[in-house]
Protein backbone atom coordinates (compact mmCIF):
# COMPACT_ATOMS: atom_id res chain seq x y z
CA UNK A 1 0.00 0.00 0.00
CA UNK A 2 2.72 2.43 1.05
CA UNK A 3 4.70 1.58 -2.06
CA UNK A 4 1.67 2.27 -4.22
CA UNK A 5 1.18 5.60 -2.51
CA UNK A 6 4.81 6.56 -2.99
CA UNK A 7 4.70 5.54 -6.64
CA UNK A 8 1.59 7.58 -7.18
CA UNK A 9 3.04 10.58 -5.39
CA UNK A 10 6.16 10.40 -7.53
CA UNK A 11 4.04 10.33 -10.67
CA UNK A 12 1.87 13.16 -9.51
CA UNK A 13 4.83 15.20 -8.37
CA UNK A 14 6.87 14.63 -11.52
CA UNK A 15 7.58 18.02 -13.03
CA UNK A 16 5.97 18.59 -16.36
CA UNK A 17 7.31 21.01 -18.90
CA UNK A 18 3.86 21.50 -20.36
CA UNK A 19 2.11 22.40 -17.15
CA UNK A 20 3.28 24.86 -14.56
CA UNK A 21 2.38 23.36 -11.23
CA UNK A 22 0.61 25.46 -8.73
CA UNK A 23 0.80 24.99 -5.01
CA UNK A 24 -1.78 26.09 -2.55
CA UNK A 25 -1.59 25.99 1.19
CA UNK A 26 -3.96 26.60 4.03
CA UNK A 27 -2.61 27.16 7.51
CA UNK A 28 -4.80 26.63 10.54
CA UNK A 29 -3.64 27.79 13.94
CA UNK A 30 -5.82 27.30 17.00
CA UNK A 31 -4.85 28.61 20.40
CA UNK A 32 -6.60 30.28 23.33
CA UNK A 33 -8.91 27.38 23.98
CA UNK A 34 -11.18 27.17 26.99
CA UNK A 35 -8.87 26.77 29.96
CA UNK A 36 -10.34 23.34 30.73
CA UNK A 37 -8.64 22.07 27.56
CA UNK A 38 -5.22 23.36 28.53
CA UNK A 39 -3.08 26.16 27.23
CA UNK A 40 -1.11 26.04 24.02
CA UNK A 41 0.74 29.19 23.14
CA UNK A 42 2.58 28.42 19.93
CA UNK A 43 0.17 27.44 17.14
CA UNK A 44 -0.16 30.99 15.76
CA UNK A 45 3.61 31.33 15.69
CA UNK A 46 3.69 27.92 14.04
CA UNK A 47 1.48 28.92 11.12
CA UNK A 48 3.58 32.05 10.68
CA UNK A 49 6.93 30.27 10.41
CA UNK A 50 5.56 27.46 8.25
CA UNK A 51 3.69 29.96 6.07
CA UNK A 52 6.79 32.09 5.60
CA UNK A 53 8.81 29.04 4.61
CA UNK A 54 6.16 27.95 2.10
CA UNK A 55 5.62 31.40 0.63
CA UNK A 56 9.20 32.60 0.35
CA UNK A 57 10.81 29.60 -1.24
CA UNK A 58 11.25 29.93 -4.95
Amino acid sequence: MMRAVVALMLLVLMPSAAHAEKRFAILIGNQSYDSSLGISKNPLKGITVVGDALAHQG
Partner: protein
Protein backbone atom coordinates in the same frame (compact mmCIF):
# COMPACT_ATOMS: atom_id res chain seq x y z
CA UNK B 1 9.11 16.78 -4.50
CA UNK B 2 8.11 20.32 -5.30
CA UNK B 3 6.54 21.21 -2.01
CA UNK B 4 9.38 23.38 -0.83
CA UNK B 5 9.00 25.71 -3.77
CA UNK B 6 6.85 28.75 -3.42
CA UNK B 7 3.26 28.14 -2.45
CA UNK B 8 0.33 30.47 -2.49
CA UNK B 9 -1.10 30.80 0.99
CA UNK B 10 -4.83 31.07 0.60
CA UNK B 11 -5.30 32.65 4.00
CA UNK B 12 -4.17 31.95 7.51
CA UNK B 13 -7.05 30.60 9.55
CA UNK B 14 -6.87 31.52 13.22
CA UNK B 15 -9.03 30.65 16.19
CA UNK B 16 -11.06 28.38 13.91
CA UNK B 17 -14.37 26.82 14.81
CA UNK B 18 -15.59 23.67 13.10
CA UNK B 19 -17.00 25.56 10.14
CA UNK B 20 -13.82 27.62 9.84
CA UNK B 21 -11.64 24.52 9.58
CA UNK B 22 -13.90 22.76 7.08
CA UNK B 23 -14.46 25.99 5.13
CA UNK B 24 -10.71 26.41 4.73
CA UNK B 25 -10.40 22.88 3.39
CA UNK B 26 -13.25 23.52 0.94
CA UNK B 27 -11.50 26.66 -0.29
CA UNK B 28 -8.36 24.66 -0.89
CA UNK B 29 -10.25 22.01 -2.88
CA UNK B 30 -11.94 24.73 -4.95
CA UNK B 31 -8.58 26.33 -5.75
CA UNK B 32 -7.00 23.01 -6.67
CA UNK B 33 -9.84 22.08 -8.97
CA UNK B 34 -9.77 25.49 -10.63
CA UNK B 35 -6.01 25.32 -11.10
CA UNK B 36 -5.96 22.07 -13.06
CA UNK B 37 -4.02 18.85 -13.00
CA UNK B 38 -0.84 17.96 -11.10
CA UNK B 39 -1.08 20.67 -8.52
CA UNK B 40 -0.27 20.45 -4.86
CA UNK B 41 -2.42 21.21 -1.86
CA UNK B 42 -0.87 21.61 1.57
CA UNK B 43 -2.64 21.82 4.93
CA UNK B 44 -0.80 22.70 8.08
CA UNK B 45 -2.83 22.39 11.28
CA UNK B 46 -1.49 23.47 14.63
CA UNK B 47 -3.75 23.25 17.64
CA UNK B 48 -5.37 20.69 19.87
CA UNK B 49 -6.03 17.24 18.51
CA UNK B 50 -7.23 14.04 20.09
CA UNK B 51 -8.26 10.50 19.32
CA UNK B 52 -11.51 9.05 20.62
CA UNK B 53 -10.70 5.72 22.24
CA UNK B 54 -13.95 3.97 21.46
CA UNK B 55 -13.79 4.67 17.76
CA UNK B 56 -10.09 5.33 17.08
CA UNK B 57 -11.11 8.41 15.16
CA UNK B 58 -8.73 11.36 15.02
CA UNK B 59 -10.12 14.83 15.61
CA UNK B 60 -9.09 18.42 15.16
CA UNK B 61 -10.43 20.38 18.09
CA UNK B 62 -12.24 23.66 17.26
CA UNK B 63 -11.49 26.76 19.26
CA UNK B 64 -14.91 26.86 20.91
CA UNK B 65 -14.74 23.28 22.22
CA UNK B 66 -16.02 22.89 25.75
CA UNK B 67 -16.08 20.08 28.27
CA UNK B 68 -14.61 16.79 27.21
CA UNK B 69 -17.11 14.84 29.25
CA UNK B 70 -19.89 15.28 26.73
CA UNK B 71 -20.44 13.48 23.45
CA UNK B 72 -21.04 16.92 21.95
CA UNK B 73 -17.32 17.53 22.36
CA UNK B 74 -16.67 14.92 19.68
CA UNK B 75 -19.67 15.79 17.53
CA UNK B 76 -18.64 19.45 17.41
CA UNK B 77 -15.05 18.59 16.55
CA UNK B 78 -13.68 17.89 13.09
CA UNK B 79 -12.84 14.34 12.06
CA UNK B 80 -9.56 14.03 10.24
CA UNK B 81 -11.45 11.58 8.00
CA UNK B 82 -13.79 14.39 6.96
CA UNK B 83 -10.85 16.59 6.03
CA UNK B 84 -9.44 13.75 3.94
CA UNK B 85 -12.80 13.12 2.26
CA UNK B 86 -13.15 16.77 1.32
CA UNK B 87 -9.63 16.74 -0.09
CA UNK B 88 -10.50 13.70 -2.20
CA UNK B 89 -12.68 16.12 -4.15
CA UNK B 90 -9.48 17.54 -5.63
CA UNK B 91 -8.83 14.24 -7.33
CA UNK B 92 -6.01 15.28 -9.63
CA UNK B 93 -3.89 17.05 -7.02
CA UNK B 94 -1.31 15.72 -4.60
CA UNK B 95 -2.33 16.52 -1.06
CA UNK B 96 -0.30 16.94 2.08
CA UNK B 97 -1.70 17.22 5.57
CA UNK B 98 0.68 18.19 8.34
CA UNK B 99 -0.85 17.51 11.71
CA UNK B 100 1.01 19.45 14.36
CA UNK B 101 -1.47 18.51 17.06
CA UNK B 102 -1.93 16.74 20.39
CA UNK B 103 -0.13 19.42 22.28
CA UNK B 104 1.06 18.11 25.60
CA UNK B 105 -0.77 20.84 27.48
CA UNK B 106 -4.07 19.28 26.50
CA UNK B 107 -5.88 18.08 29.61
CA UNK B 108 -8.09 15.10 28.95
CA UNK B 109 -9.79 14.05 32.16
CA UNK B 110 -12.28 11.55 30.75
CA UNK B 111 -11.22 7.96 30.43
CA UNK B 112 -12.71 7.44 26.98
CA UNK B 113 -10.20 9.78 25.43
CA UNK B 114 -6.97 8.54 23.95
CA UNK B 115 -4.58 11.45 24.17
CA UNK B 116 -2.90 11.87 20.85
CA UNK B 117 -3.88 10.55 17.49
CA UNK B 118 -4.23 7.09 16.05
CA UNK B 119 -2.50 6.25 12.76
CA UNK B 120 -4.48 6.63 9.58
CA UNK B 121 -3.83 4.69 6.42
CA UNK B 122 -2.57 7.09 3.82
CA UNK B 123 -4.88 7.40 0.87
CA UNK B 124 -3.78 7.56 -2.69
CA UNK B 125 -2.32 10.91 -3.61
CA UNK B 126 -2.36 11.99 0.01
CA UNK B 127 0.47 12.18 2.51
CA UNK B 128 -0.13 12.81 6.19
CA UNK B 129 2.67 13.87 8.49
CA UNK B 130 2.14 13.79 12.25
CA UNK B 131 4.05 15.81 14.80
CA UNK B 132 3.50 13.09 17.35
CA UNK B 133 3.57 9.30 17.34
CA UNK B 134 0.23 7.50 17.73
CA UNK B 135 -1.21 8.03 21.18
CA UNK B 136 1.46 10.53 22.10
CA UNK B 137 1.45 14.25 22.57
CA UNK B 138 3.41 16.83 20.62
CA UNK B 139 5.51 19.46 22.27
CA UNK B 140 4.35 23.05 22.43
CA UNK B 141 7.67 24.26 23.77
CA UNK B 142 9.94 26.68 21.97
CA UNK B 143 10.46 30.42 21.90
CA UNK B 144 9.07 31.19 18.48
CA UNK B 145 6.97 28.17 17.60
CA UNK B 146 6.63 24.55 18.57
CA UNK B 147 9.63 22.38 17.63
CA UNK B 148 7.77 20.60 14.86
CA UNK B 149 6.85 23.89 13.15
CA UNK B 150 10.42 25.14 13.50
CA UNK B 151 11.86 21.91 12.08
CA UNK B 152 9.37 21.88 9.21
CA UNK B 153 10.12 25.49 8.32
CA UNK B 154 13.85 24.92 8.15
CA UNK B 155 13.47 21.73 6.13
CA UNK B 156 11.12 23.51 3.72
CA UNK B 157 13.86 26.08 3.23
CA UNK B 158 16.40 23.48 2.10
CA UNK B 159 16.80 22.66 -1.54
CA UNK B 160 16.73 19.34 -3.30
CA UNK B 161 14.79 17.14 -0.89
CA UNK B 162 11.93 14.93 -1.93
CA UNK B 163 8.92 14.93 0.33
CA UNK B 164 9.71 11.65 2.08
CA UNK B 165 13.20 12.82 3.01
CA UNK B 166 11.84 16.18 3.99
CA UNK B 167 9.32 14.80 6.46
CA UNK B 168 11.82 12.22 7.74
CA UNK B 169 14.31 15.02 8.44
CA UNK B 170 11.63 17.01 10.21
CA UNK B 171 10.89 14.00 12.41
CA UNK B 172 14.55 13.54 13.29
CA UNK B 173 15.06 17.21 14.04
CA UNK B 174 11.94 17.37 16.05
CA UNK B 175 12.03 14.12 18.03
CA UNK B 176 14.55 15.07 20.73
CA UNK B 177 12.18 17.86 21.76
CA UNK B 178 8.93 15.92 21.72
CA UNK B 179 7.65 12.88 23.51
CA UNK B 180 7.16 11.05 20.25
CA UNK B 181 8.72 7.61 19.94
CA UNK B 182 9.75 5.34 17.07
Amino acid sequence: MRLRTKAEILRPIKYAKRSGILGGVRDLVRQLNAAGASDIGFIYYSGHGAAEKDTNINYLIPIDAKALSTTAFWDDSVKLDDVQRLLDGASSAAKFIVFDACRNELQLPTKDTGKGLVPVADQQGMFIAYASAPGRTASDKGDHSGPYAAALASELARLGLDHLNLFQNVKERCCPCTQAVG
